[in-house]
């Protein structure tokens, strides 16, 4: 427990409160977290917490607002925007690794989104939109492009994209929420490469790119693991 010093600025104090609240909300959800618990974690009184955030809801909203702020996968976006003919296997592997890195580094991120959904919080749809749908839509776009080139088999690209993202989210959840040892011990980049490779095997097209029930063995992909 950190005892607050008098010389802490209001801004620093506010930051400590938010930090402690993120941890507790991520562990217990909004409903089961009490302001007094947050105050205790920071080493201050609940009155001081209320000075900064008059209600628990305002504190929670401040955290969710921050989470709704877009998270840039800048490095990947730059490759998308400025490379002539980027490699899709490489891009999707980087994107998968980015999602897993984010959740490994800040497990509270995924836990808060899941709690918001479980508690049917009003902010949940916006969080889903910002953090999940953006990725699904982008992957769907790439699948549509690949289908047009005959690289992937026919089928609903958005459904394929959802499958891709759901697999990724499952991996992230097992690593950071379930904290399953087997999942956690897997090297993050190898996991990302395998995820993309398995997915590509499933949607690989056949010669001519016609609708088919492509064999998973068609066009095996070697994603080039760098693990």
């Amino acid at each position: 427990m950190t005892k607050l010093r008098k010389r802490l600025s209001a801004e620093d104090r506010r930051r400590l409160i938010v930090h402690a609240a993120i941890e507790l909300f991520a562990q217990r959800g909004f409903r089961d977290t009490r302001v007094v618990d947050i105050a205790q974690k920071v080493g201050t009184s609940d009155a001081l917490v209320f000075q900064h955030f008059p209600t628990k809801r305002e504190l929670y909203d401040a955290i969710l607002d921050e989470m709704c702020a877009r998270r840039h996968f800048t490095e990947i976006e730059e490759l998308l925007y400025y490379s002539e003919g980027y490699d899709l296997t490489d891009i999707l592997t980087r994107l998968s690794a980015w999602v897993l890195e984010q959740t490994d580094r800040e497990p509270a991120w995924l836990r808060l989104i899941l709690y918001a959904a479980l508690e049917e919080d009003d902010a949940a749809p916006q969080l889903m939109d910002e953090h999940f749908r953006r990725i699904v839509d982008y992957v769907g776009f790439e699948i549509t492009e690949a289908q047009a080139k005959g690289r992937f088999r026919a089928g609903d690209p958005q459904r394929y994209a959802r499958e891709f993202f759901a697999g990724l989210l499952g991996l992230a959840t097992m690593r950071t929420v379930a904290r399953d040892a087997a999942f956690r011990n897997d090297d993050l980049r190898a996991v990302a490469a395998t995820h993309v490779s398995v997915f590509f095997g499933g949607v690989a097209g056949t010669e001519g790119g016609k609708a088919s029930s492509a064999s998973p063995n068609a066009q095996p992909v070697s994603p080039g693991t760098d693990a």
């Binding site: 976006e77 925007y81 749908r133 776009f141």
Partner: protein
């Protein structure tokens, strides 16, 4: 003169930029394309993309929650 228009309403970044980039590649040098988007992130991304690629951002403005961009392909 007809200006090609891309509707990226409801799409989140990076999709608007990817669609814009694809459309600009298909243009003749000096020709323009219009894009309508709703993701606020597009404002910053389109400006950065135009600077980086040497294409000219002729217009960028918001109208009732929609963002309108006009880009001229570099000569």
């Amino acid at each position: 003169m007809n200006v090609q228009s891309i509707d990226c309403t409801g799409l989140n970044c990076p999709l608007p930029i990817l669609r814009l980039s694809k459309a600009v590649k298909a243009l003749s040098p000096g020709a323009t394309v219009e894009m309508i988007a709703t993701d606020p992130g597009a404002q910053k991304d389109v400006a950065a993309w135009a600077t980086q690629t040497g294409n000219e951002l002729v217009e960028s403005r918001e109208e009732g929650g929609k963002y309108r961009f006009v880009v001229r392909k570099a000569a």
